[in-house]
């Protein structure tokens, strides 16, 4: 690193951007079409704390100059996103195409949920959770699920299930969710119904 480097301490993005973005997208596509199944990413960027590698990879794969991003991850992560994804960062969650939440998730009613005619203009939430575990926790059903899937996401606030039910109730409007922990992720599209099992 030279003294002229404008962003000292900036860590690299994907080592090989084309194949890495492709493999990460296929993991996201598989996650979105098989809700609740945990996908492990193989090509990961060196993201600064507090970004989880999987969450950083998801944003790097999908966000660019056309997609405003809202994040609570702090200045190091913002500089990293600005440089590697080239995405505009916005302070208003309702103005963002992608929301990258590392601490407590924003209220699901805040982001853009699209319109009845254009529900695809809704935001996607990338939420970092403490851990993802298959075969425990919620029982999921809906499109993409043969019978049921089980997923436990540790560290989500109480009342999340109720907020998710409210999100599903406004179908076709609604936001979609990508849950990330470490190098793995799972997705909940708006069509997925979620039951808490004890």
């Amino acid at each position: 690193m030279t003294a002229a480097d404008p962003s000292p301490g900036l860590t690299p993005g994907f080592a090989a951007p084309v194949p890495a973005a492709q493999s990460c997208f296929r993991a996201l596509l598989e996650a979105m079409s098989r809700p609740g199944l945990i996908q492990t990413l193989t090509a990961l960027p060196e993201a600064p704390a507090p970004l989880a590698p999987a969450a950083a990879a998801a944003i790097l794969t999908l966000a660019d100059a056309d997609t405003p991003v809202w994040t609570d991850a702090g200045p190091a992560a913002e500089a990293w996103l600005r440089f590697h994804a080239g995405c505009p960062l916005v302070a208003d969650p309702a103005a963002a195409s992608f929301l990258l939440a590392t601490a407590s998730p924003p209220d699901l009613a805040l982001p853009d949920a699209g319109t009845e005619e254009e529900p695809h203009r809704s935001a996607t939430l990338v939420l970092q959770v403490a851990a993802l575990e298959a075969g425990a926790g919620w029982t999921l059903s809906g499109p993409g699920i043969e019978t049921t899937h089980r997923l436990h996401a540790a560290g989500l606030p109480a009342g999340f299930a109720a907020a998710w039910a409210a999100n599903a109730a406004r179908f076709p409007r609604g936001v979609d969710l990508v849950l990330c922990a470490g190098d793995s992720l799972a997705a909940l599209p708006r069509t997925t119904r979620l039951e808490e099992t004890r």
């Binding site: 997208f25 596509l29 098989r34 009845e116 529900p119 809704s122 076709p172």
Partner: protein, 282 residues
């Protein structure tokens, strides 16, 4: 080895990202048409540019690609598209349905049942199922928003009143996930039941009309019908002249100018596999 001077998969990374975002939203809202920017391709609209854009955005080096045109692997469109991807990605290609991870198709679903993990990419000429009934796109968008599909039911009813049955042999409209009316692309109505709760992911790309839509695995796809006139898939009442199959969808081939004709499987891989099994058994 891929062609020099092109990005992997021909499209640039910005375009792929835009298409990938559209695909993810399409999967999240089964049957809803998501607009996308259809880029110029080295072949004209109407030759499968929508399907090619989708395939180019999802394909990776680990994939094996199969391309079919009306069920056949060896027709011009299928051969050209398969060669195109071999050239711009270097991925392995196959004619075997079971060996492919991505199958791009024009107007057929393979006879061999698809499995979990496979992706079926349809080339779609007209994504809007209501366009013959309502030419204004602004109006059809509103009808989709309100799930107001009465017009289509009236069309089916009028068919029954006039002909005694629903006179749609291909592109038979379906209801996806109990919510969105969707065009299955011009596949024969015979193939419609295969879409229901299919274990493979189904993606649809319409290049000229600039729309992408999707059906996730294990999603209900119901062909529109009435209780007293249930949907019936139609098939020529014959056996394939080459493999004797009575289950597959058949093409009628005129063989001379005396009115002679024969029926053969439209799915060349299915037919070829059955023929080689019969030869092996003899």
């Amino acid at each position: 080895m891929t062609a020099l001077g092109y990005n992997f998969g021909y499209l640039d990374e910005n375009t792929k990202r835009m298409i990938r975002r559209a695909i993810l939203k399409a999967v999240a809202i089964p049957g809803h048409q998501v607009p996308f920017g259809a880029r110029e391709m080295p072949l004209p609209y109407g030759w499968g540019t929508g399907g090619i854009a989708v395939t180019a955005s999802i394909i990776g080096t680990a994939d094996t690609l199969k391309v079919i045109d009306q069920g056949a692997d060896d027709t011009t469109n299928a051969v050209s598209i398969r060669r195109f991807f071999a050239k711009v990605t270097g991925v392995a290609t196959t004619e075997r349905t079971g060996e492919a991870s991505i199958i791009q198709t024009r107007h057929r679903i393979p006879e061999t049942p698809l499995r979990q993990g496979q992706i079926l990419v349809y080339q779609v000429p007209m994504p809007e199922p209501l366009f013959r009934l309502e030419p204004r796109l602004a109006e059809t968008r509103r009808m989709h928003a309100l799930a107001d599909y009465g017009l289509m039911h009236v069309k089916l009813y009028e068919d029954i009143a006039r002909h005694g049955h629903v006179a749609i042999s291909y592109g038979y409209p379906v209801l996806v996930g109990g919510r969105y009316l969707m065009s299955p692309s011009p596949i024969p109505a015979f193939d419609n039941p295969k879409m229901d709760r299919m274990p493979a992911l189904q993606l649809f790309g319409a290049g000229r009309e600039k729309r992408i839509y999707a059906v996730p695995p294990y999603t209900s796809v119901r062909s529109l019908d009435f209780e007293d006139h249930p949907f019936v898939p139609v098939r020529a009442d014959a056996a394939c002249a080459l493999c004797q199959s009575r289950e597959s969808y058949l093409d009628e081939v005129v063989v001379d100018d005396q009115g002679g004709r024969m029926f053969v499987c439209s799915d060349t891989d299915y037919c070829g596999t059955r023929q080689s099994h019969r030869e092996a058994a003899e």
